[in-house]
Amino acid sequence: MLDKISRMLKKRQSLVLGVYGAPNAGKTTLANRISLDFLGVEIGTVSPIPHETRKATIARQVNIRFNGKGVNVDLVDMPGIASKVDYRDFMKYGLNEEEAVERAKEATRGVIEAIQWLDNIDLALTVFDATKVPFDQVNLIILGNLKAKRIPTILVANKIDLPEARPELIRESFPGYKVVCVSALRGDNMEELYKAIAESC
């Protein structure tokens, strides 16, 4: 699969790198880390409330480098994909009903936007919360659609700084994929992720 990235990169100056995953997997934290490392700025707001990212956010011309090799990407932080959006879940975080419903409406539009973006990306980082069971149907739907569209993906086992993280479950559940374990929050092992992306060119 990474061979395909390599062939694509040889043909193109930059590609569209989509950051996918379920809500609160750490997509924006990861996108911020990548953007901070190579552009010096963050691209999105992080929150413990699910669906904080409700519109796709783009950082353009991010030159991801490792050991002298580099690749230019337009980094797209996607809204989380979910099959349900219950406004009452947001009220548990202190939002009033009106705020919660508005957030839920925006979240449903975000889910649709993230799915539509699948037609426009060249490479995906599929982010997993390593403290949770990886065989979630949303993850299966994301990976199934990427495979059907022949879009290469690197699985990112995030939150490995937490003691309950079990990134090995992700490797066991998806044996055909390249899996990189990181803590986007602390920046742990990001070099391996940059290596996985940059070495493919």
């Binding site: 099959s83 406004y87 739907i141």
Partner: protein
Amino acid sequence: MKIDIISEKVTRRLSPNDKVKMIIERVKGKSILVLEERLKPEEQAELIKETMLEIDFKEFNGIEVITFNGEKKGGKITVVAPSDIVAVTKEGDFISLMYVAGCTK
């Protein structure tokens, strides 16, 4: 709440769009659907998109969906349920449907 078990003979005759519409309509009507087929990833993505458009932030707040591959050819199912009524989980070869506590529907 009721459970609809739908044969592949029925879904085979439907276009992907009509299949998604049929699923949404029944799930919004508080049915748990057991389809005798594994929905394709593209169909599941379409199902999620349509679900997002149908969420009314009152009675219908989304779906639970899960697919299952059996050992034998044709031994595949998809379960779709209203998330306000049941939570669906899959562990190994077991699919569990759990009534959502506090639900009055």
